[in-house]
Amino acid sequence: MSGGTEHPFIFSVGVNHRSSPLEVRERLSVSNSELPDVLNKFKGILDECMILSTCNRTEIYCVADREKFDKELVKKTIIDFKNAGDITKSEHFFEYATCGAANHLFKVATSIDSLIVGDVQIMHQLKESFQIAQHNKSTGKLLNMLCQKALHTGKRVRHETTLYEGAFSVSFASVELALKIFGSLEDKTVMVIGAGETAELTAKNLIRKDVKKIIVTNRTRENAEKMLDDLNKVHKFESEVVDFADFKSRIPEADIIISSTGSKDYVLLYNDMKKIISDRMDLPMLIIDIAIPRDIDPKIDTLDNVFLKNIDDLEDIVNSDYEKRMKIIPEVREIISQELLEFLVWYYSIPFLPAIQHILKNSVNGNAAKHRIIRLRENLAHNISTVHKALMENEDSFTSDEISSHNRLMERLNKIQNDVLTHGDIIED
């Protein structure tokens, strides 16, 4: 082992609600069925790759040699795959490397980077994305460990803090909004268009508020029936599955619509809705459009007594509990900090495996070898924690800073490594 640059880098490149507008996120959104194709496109470019794509983010986590890594090529690959070059610019992407990339994934996994802090769904989505990447043989030792550690961090936050209590999520926001408009939901009918996970969760929360009836429609009738079966496990309520071709004729019955189809075009247009609203005698209607790309014509929001909310709109609703969640965030950061340090010690220890083997091989005294390895690890942890501390104090550090930090750290670690390989022990400065 000679230079630090041989140590593989972890990079993270992507778009999220902080870096890009909704239109860009919509266009770059990758469905689970598309994921293997995109992952395959990266196989020649990156050593390891995992893509997390939700309604608010499309993020590529990858491992590559720093000298060979071309972030612009990564961006171009995803933009070309989604044919989104007309609206997507390089500036819409965020970029992190090494500690920054790992820290970012941990923040995503715990939901403190989410549009809606406390949204537990992100853990399921990360798990699913990781499994798809693993199944596609796109991940390796580094990303496997990174993702497992991120999921473990999410679990710790779930068990050790109250961040997820009160379900501060898209579904929670939708229910709050429904209560703010209708008061009681006991005589209300909900129509679910599509059978996505978030739609189901939203419907579940509405059922807990005792809505009268749920109508579900989906292009695949079996999926709609399955969703109703699942929902019926939560609570008994009046329900009906409607053929997708007929759902528009049933909209006048609905007080709340949740739409999350995978359609590329609007499933409900302004002119359809204008007539429906007049048939409803001016009764208010709440439409939650959680689909990416959007399902509902945005112009519908201009109609009186129609409240159309998309993902971005829901952020404002959820932030009403912003203060409460912000108080929990320091606890979450502490957990992230602990887990990140453990991960980094492991990550930077990889090149030291030869040194450890050298100690074990050349030592005649087992206890002395054990002592040297402990000293080596302590020294590693000390050096890494210095960089780690700096990172945690300045989380918005740029990629160039992270790379220089990484390089400085690698220089110090290489010296330790050379000491061990040359002198059989660590030489103090």
């Binding site: 703010k180 408009i181 001016d282 208010p284 009186d304 007594n305 909310k309 009403s320």
Partner: protein, 271 residues
């Protein structure tokens, strides 16, 4: 007594205002009890005030515009207490008490006893006439406040502006229901006032005239609210239109009555 009453109005505005504008949505039980005590005290103090005033001066407190303002303030607080007890909703109280308190402050600043009282003011029929009118106007003012709050909340929801209005106000459905109830409540009492006035006033007042400015303005307001009431019953108005009309109608009613009382001469003024 009136100074003590004013203190309670201020205390009510501060406590209701604090719970409405504070950042968190929780409702400490102690504060809710304090709010209820202040509101009930205001009703009791108002009642005692009018009992003492009637005993001291020997006539109903309807001889000057400022006495009527005080009576109006009482009507608003009394109607609001009924609504609060019925709906358990306390977050609109701030807006109600600001209006009621403002009327009381103006009344307190300018009220004075007349040297000569028109004999008609001592008849019980006039007492019923004015009381019904005050309750009618209280309903109209409350419907205006609730209509205004509905329109504010509607806009906040549309624009995703999550602030105290969004967090603390009751649902749009409840606000619209309160507005409709207040309009209906006000209209019924106002109708009684108008009918009784048309039947009784020509007999009781020597210089009665159908062209009297107050009579005309009251009739116009009544006709406007008749339209609103029919709109509510037949559901012909869109909700938003009804709320705008409730707010505009309330402002128009108060301003027109103030204008008529201050600037125009009327047989309807007994002072």
């Amino acid at each position: 007594m009136s100074i003590l009453m004013l203190h309670f109005y201020f205390a009510g505005i501060i406590v209701y205002g604090y719970t409405f504008w504070k950042k968190t949505s929780d409702k400490p039980r102690r504060l809710e009890i304090v709010k209820k005590i202040i509101l009930v005290s205001l009703v009791v103090l108002n009642l005692l005030y009018f009992i003492f005033r009637i005993s001291a001066y020997g006539h109903a407190p309807i001889t000057t515009m400022f006495e009527i303002m005080s009576l109006m303030s009482f009507g608003i607080v009394l109607t609001y207490l009924y609504i609060e007890l019925k709906t358990k909703e306390t977050d609109t109280g701030f807006f109600i008490l600001v209006i009621a308190g403002l009327l009381e402050v103006i009344s307190f600043s300018f009220i004075e006893e007349l040297k000569e009282i028109n004999p008609v003011l001592k008849t019980w029929v006039l007492g019923i006439h004015v009381s019904a009118a005050i309750i009618g106007y209280s309903g109209i003012i409350l419907s205006g406040i609730y209509g205004f709050l509905y329109l504010r909340l509607y806009r906040k929801i549309k624009k995703n502006q999550v602030d105290s209005f969004f967090k603390k106000l009751p649902s749009l459905k409840l606000l619209s229901s309160l507005t409709r109830s207040a309009i209906s409540f006000g209209f019924i009492f106002f109708t009684f006032t108008i009918v009784q006035g048309f039947v009784w006033l020509p007999k009781a007042i020597d210089n009665f005239s159908y062209l009297d400015p107050k009579l005309i303005s009251s009739t116009i307001i009544w006709l406007l609210y008749l339209g609103g009431y029919i709109g509510i019953i037949t559901k012909r108005f869109k909700i938003n239109t009804l709320m705008k009309l409730a707010f505009a109608g309330s402002v128009f009613s108060v301003l027109s009555m103030m204008f008529v009382n201050i600037f125009l001469k009327s047989f309807h003024n007994f002072y």
